[in-house]
């Protein structure tokens, strides 16, 4: 999307090891464009927070270069990087009022009093906390502290803001509300945001692009929709959203399609992603909502396979049905609760099928 | 049940025995050891009465506190002469009956056998000891000879050890300043005399290491912390003769006095305590102590035969304060002076010490 030359933030062949034995970050290459909202998503220990800390300057890269606005910042201390940061537990200074917390980054930059006050007021108004300047952090609720932390990270007009799981401590409703606000601030201020989370929902709703981390590597870097619909490997497919997995061997491979013979003998259609030739082992991944069970909706010429209903769950807006398919007992389909939608009964024998482009043949 | 009975009987017997032990409080170190060897052990061997030795920096202090608090745990204490008089005046001590003291081995009645002043209303002398000064012969092959040399930092460079307290220090300073022993207390009785003593001390004040317990003095000398120090003569004798330290005593301006056994009022085992004192201050008892430390026995009869140190060869006579050669320029400590002036001069001494 953005080439390293014009990238605002660039990681080039970055490696990080804490103990000199194993690598926490393995050959990281990442380019982040100006104004972009990039999320690093991954399970704990995947290297995403380490990457963020290297960018902030609290960890040094063992190898490789980190560039900010075209300049190598490997040796620039954190306070000279001019990067705003929001911490997991907010890290508001407990011995200062809200106003003093916001004033701090301005004071250390030697800003005059009147200018400081104007900026503090603007930043607090931005997060609707204008009335709280004289409170201490301990007197605020979690959500309010979160807003102040955000305001503090933004008050000195950084070009880049890093957020390390900033919403992790909030309850679900507040979290969703804050997601929206952060996204809104990002858009209105035009800043670049690098956001770290292990919550895929958060990543998908807020980001321009998501970098999925696992085992010290970026598994896939893509916009949310691509990530969901076109996972490039079985880790991403498994990590993002729900999906059905079928083991098999490539039977035939053609231009953009292939057929896969499952272990139980059935043949299905799929789109080859990580397979290139006949006889390769593969894992076919299909989203539950893309599986069809009404024969009239099966695409022409595509294979369909037998299934037996094991369980039917009524979820209000959705029906969730668990099937036995090709020996697997946790094949799930989701269907919308539309007018006249049929409720399947356990024990019922049906056939299921799908568009070949919805079934992705990935690495086994 | 029977077992229990035996146990309780044993325990009560033990408690009784422990209670009947005569507790003697003395100054620790070589002196305490000499009393343990010369008095406590043979007394127990002879009478079967148990004895316990406890140490103190100055037994006069704790026994007064004990008597005032009504919790006396000591039966016999070894105190300085002036303290024996003062404590007796203050009613802290039991009186001692001179008639109960045994005659000398040669039959001389106790009253005549003891040297003058050795028995008072409340105390019996065990020995005559002296505050002297001593130096390390390896440091000064041509050692100091007089008290004035002690104050001569130019001729004999190095730190000086002195006892932290007014008594004996002020007299020593005056003698070093040229006051004859006979005039020391007259001079010290006047404000000018006191000023003179402190002025003399001022000349070495910054080079003095102050010691408090008697055993510290030979230790400071042995550690090389001081080049010369005031000390109780017996402590130096023991370090030099028994331990082979290169220490030399200077007898000039020695200040001698009697050391007294006293019984604090309300002592738990008063009768045994009196029995102990009679034994310890007999001709034999005094000789036994004098064989362990070079303090002069206070009975004439104890000196009839030459005393030999426990090493079997050193004759004690010349090492005692009372030896004629050592008495050339000696001062007998004036107990009356110290009974009267102790508080005042020590207050002044403390203030002087604390002033920079």
């Amino acid at each position: 999307m953005t080439s390293p030359n014009e990238a605002f933030v660039a990681f080039e062949h970055v490696q990080k090891s804490y103990d000199g034995v194993s690598l926490v970050v393995k050959d990281l290459n990442l380019a982040i464009g100006k104004g972009e909202f990039l999320t690093m998503l991954g399970p704990s220990g995947s290297g995403k927070t380490t990457t963020l800390m290297m960018l902030a300057g609290f960890e040094t890269a063992t190898h490789g270069e980190i560039k900010l606005d075209g300049v190598n910042i490997n040796l620039v201390p954190p306070h000279k990087r001019g990067i705003g940061m929001v911490f997991q537990n907010y890290a508001l200074f407990p011995h200062m009022t809200v106003g003093e917390n916001l004033s701090f980054p301005l004071e250390v930059r030697g800003m005059g009093k009147s200018e400081r006050e104007a900026k503090i007021k603007r930043a607090l108004d931005m997060v609707q906390m204008g009335a709280f300047a004289n409170r201490r952090p301990a007197q605020l609720s979690g959500g309010q502290q979160q807003r102040i932390a955000l305001a503090r990270a933004l008050v000195f007009d950084p070009k880049l803001v890093l957020m390390d799981e900033p919403l992790g401590a909030l309850d679900k409703q507040l979290r969703e509300h804050m997601q929206f606000e952060i996204k809104h601030l990002h858009e209105s201020l035009g800043i670049t945001v690098v956001y770290v989370t292990h919550d895929q929902g958060e990543a998908l709703t807020m980001s321009d692009r998501v970098a999925v981390f696992n085992d010290g590597r970026i598994q896939q870097l893509a916009p949310p929709s691509d990530l969901y619909e076109r996972p490039e490997n079985s880790f991403v497919a498994g990590f993002i959203g729900e999906n059905n997995k079928l083991q098999g061997t490539v039977e035939e491979i053609g231009q953009g399609t292939c057929t896969v013979r499952l272990a139980t003998g059935e043949v299905i259609d799929a789109t080859p992603v990580n397979v290139t030739q006949k006889g390769q082992k593969t894992l076919v991944s299909i989203r539950p909502e893309r599986v069809e069970y009404k024969p009239e909706l099966f695409p022409a010429g595509a294979h369909s396979i037998d299934a037996e209903v094991l369980e039917f769950i009524y979820m209000g807006d959705m029906f969730r049905t668990r099937l036995r398919v090709a020996g697997s007992e946790d094949f799930v389909i989701k269907s919308r609760n539309t007018q006249g939608q049929r409720m399947l009964r356990p024990g019922e024998k049906i056939k299921v099928g799908w568009h070949p482009q919805d079934a992705r043949a990935l690495d086994p | 049940m029977k077992k229990l009975l035996i146990l309780t009987t044993a325990l009560s017997t033990f408690a009784f025995a422990a209670q009947a032990d005569v507790t003697v409080m003395s100054w620790g170190g070589a002196y305490g050891a000499a009393q343990t060897e010369g008095h406590l052990k043979p007394f127990t061997a002879e009478t079967g009465i148990g004895t316990v030795m406890v140490d103190s920096d100055n037994p006069a202090t704790p026994i007064k506190a004990m008597v005032e608090a009504g919790n006396v745990t000591v039966d016999v204490a070894s105190v300085e002469y002036a303290d024996a008089i003062r404590l007796c005046d203050e009613g802290v001590l039991e009186t001692i009956d001179m008639a109960a003291l045994p005659p000398g081995d040669d039959g001389t009645p106790a009253a005549e056998d003891f040297i003058a002043g050795a028995v008072t209303d409340c105390g019996v002398s065990t020995d005559v000891w002296a505050t002297v000064f001593a130096y390390d012969t390896t440091k000064f092959p041509e050692g100091p000879k007089t008290a004035a040399d002690f104050f001569d930092l130019a001729k004999f460079p190095g730190k000086r050890g002195l006892h932290k307290g007014a008594k004996a220090v002020l007299e020593f300073a005056l003698m070093a300043d040229g006051v004859a022993p006979a005039d020391v207390y007259t001079v010290l009785g006047t404000p000018e005399g006191v000023d003179r003593a402190f002025a003399k001390l001022d000349t070495i004040k910054k080079d003095v290491v102050w010691w408090e317990a008697g055993s510290q003095a030979p230790q400071l000398l042995a550690d090389g912390e001081v080049a010369m120090t005031s000390a109780y003569n017996g402590r130096i004798f023991n370090a030099a003769i028994a331990e082979g330290k290169p220490f030399q005593i200077v007898w000039d301006a020695q200040i001698y006095e009697n050391e007294m056994y006293v019984v604090p009022k309300g002592a738990p085992n008063k009768d045994q305590a009196m029995q102990f004192i009679a034994y310890a201050t007999s001709t034999k008892g005094l000789r036994q102590q004098a064989q362990h430390i070079s303090y002069g026995p206070s009975r004439h009869s104890s000196l009839k035969e030459p005393l030999i140190f426990q090493d079997g060869k050193t004759e004690m006579g010349p090492h005692m304060p009372t030896a004629p050669a050592n008495m050339a320029n000696a001062l007998g400590s004036d107990f009356q002076f110290w009974v009267d002036h102790d508080a005042e001069l020590n207050d002044r001494f403390n203030a002087w010490l604390a002033a920079n």
């Binding site: 300057g57 890290a91 | 007064k64 005046d89 203050e90 102050w210 005042e344 010490l353 604390a354």
Partner: protein, 416 residues
């Protein structure tokens, strides 16, 4: 709501709610009280009572009042300013004679000697002679010693006539009475207490400062190291705690004295000349050095307990906001350690002010503190003087504590 304000609430059976509540809670309260009773009794017996007793001692001495009844009676009949006539001396002589019999001349003289130094001897002398004295008694006594006609002596008697007295506080402040019953400063060569108080507080403040300087980095290291390493280091900090104070002080003497290990090494590597060894024991430097070491754990522990719970993210936040490491330390880290600094300083200072053994062993002449003088008075059985000095020390420390509460707030104290 209106009903409530008019009539007190009642329980279902019509009793006032308050009474019912009190009754219901009485049992629980009684049980709680019984549980704390042992501790209460213990504190009362071992702490409050001795302090009260000490305070009483500092105001009480009956050495003269109990042993000179006739003189006391005369003083009561004749107000301040009356001429000291023959009847007064007659009363005195009769008292002296009684004292000689009861062996109390020393006790009475000692009491007078405390506030009029140099008078104990005239008491003893006069008591010995009392039975033989003939009227006129004034002339007879003055013949024994001129001091008997000193008006100051009678002023002193008047103040000693009651066992309750503030004389010991007067002495503690280096004051003495003048002939006209006023107060004047003691002679320069007898002044010691105020100077010693100042020195004690000064040295204690210095020691507290040194402890803080040394303990801060140690506590910080302990707080940021991984648990396993910090535990090891903690043991090193606490080890001296488990060693006898006497052993530690003696070890310091072995290390620091002129012929000690430190000086030997310095001479060995040529930094110090052999005839010019550093004297760091038996003076105030010895006191400062050893007390700083001995009291260090009392500073480290509160600091550590505060620092351990300061998350590293504050420092990171400050750095990311543009602060240098020094600014981060000064404005973010240091203020958050204040409760620990305050607690440690208060603890070390109060301990230092009352320290006794260490200055006694290594303090020499100029490194001794007020507690050593208190101990001296106790050794000389002058309990009242010792108690007065101790009470003054207690009051000064309480004032400091109060100041501390005003300035920092006692609720912010964090001991660990």
């Amino acid at each position: 709501m209106a009903d409530v304000s008019q009539a007190p609430l009642q329980t279902a059976d019509g009793r006032p709610l308050k009474a019912a509540l009190a009754k219901a809670q009485a049992r629980a309260k009684r049980r709680a009280f019984l549980l704390v009773l042992p501790l209460l009794a213990f504190v009362l017996l071992t702490f409050v009572l001795p302090i009260l007793q000490m305070l009483q001692r500092s105001f009480y001495h009956d050495g003269f009042s109990a042993n000179a009844p006739a003189t006391v009676a005369w003083l009561e009949e004749h107000p301040q300013g009356s001429e000291i006539d023959e009847t007064a001396y007659a009363a005195l002589v009769s008292d002296l004679a009684a004292m000689q019999k009861a062996k109390t001349a020393g006790a009475a003289g000692t009491r007078i000697n405390y506030t009029y130094p140099g008078t104990i001897s005239i008491f003893k002398e006069a008591a010995r002679e009392a039975a033989k004295l003939q009227p006129p008694y004034k002339a007879a006594l003055v013949a024994l010693d001129k001091k008997w006609e000193d008006p100051l002596l009678w002023v002193t008697f008047r103040h000693a006539a009651s066992p309750w007295t503030t004389d010991f506080y007067m002495v503690s402040m280096d004051l003495r009475r003048s002939t006209d019953d006023g107060l004047q400063r003691a002679e320069p060569e007898m002044r010691i207490h105020l100077q010693l108080f100042v020195k004690t507080f000064g040295l204690s403040a210095l020691i507290t400062g040194l402890c803080l300087l040394l303990a801060f980095p140690i506590a910080h290291l302990l707080a940021i190291l991984p648990m396993r390493k910090s535990n090891l280091l903690m043991i090193l900090v606490l080890l001296p705690f488990w060693t006898s104070l006497l052993v530690r002080t003696s070890s310091w003497i072995a290390l620091g004295q002129e012929s000690g290990i430190v000086n030997d090494i310095l001479v060995g590597i040529g930094i110090v000349a052999d005839d010019n060894r550093i004297q760091m024991m038996y003076n105030k430097y010895g006191t400062i050095l050893v007390m700083t070491h001995v009291l260090l754990p009392f500073m480290v522990l509160p600091l550590y307990s505060v620092m351990r719970v300061i998350p590293p993210s504050y420092a990171r936040a400050a750095r990311s906001l543009g602060a240098t490491s020094w600014t981060t330390f000064r404005r973010i880290y240091l203020p958050q350690t204040l409760p620990g600094i305050a607690a440690g300083s208060l603890l070390v200072f109060i301990l230092a002010v009352g320290y006794y053994i260490t200055p006694a062993l290594v303090g020499g002449a100029d490194g001794t503190l007020i507690s050593n003088l208190i101990s001296f008075h106790m050794a000389k059985a002058n309990w009242s003087q010792a108690a007065a000095l101790a009470a003054m020390l207690l009051v000064l420390v309480l004032i400091l504590y109060w100041l501390y509460d005003r300035l920092i707030g006692i609720d912010r104290l964090k001991l660990g």
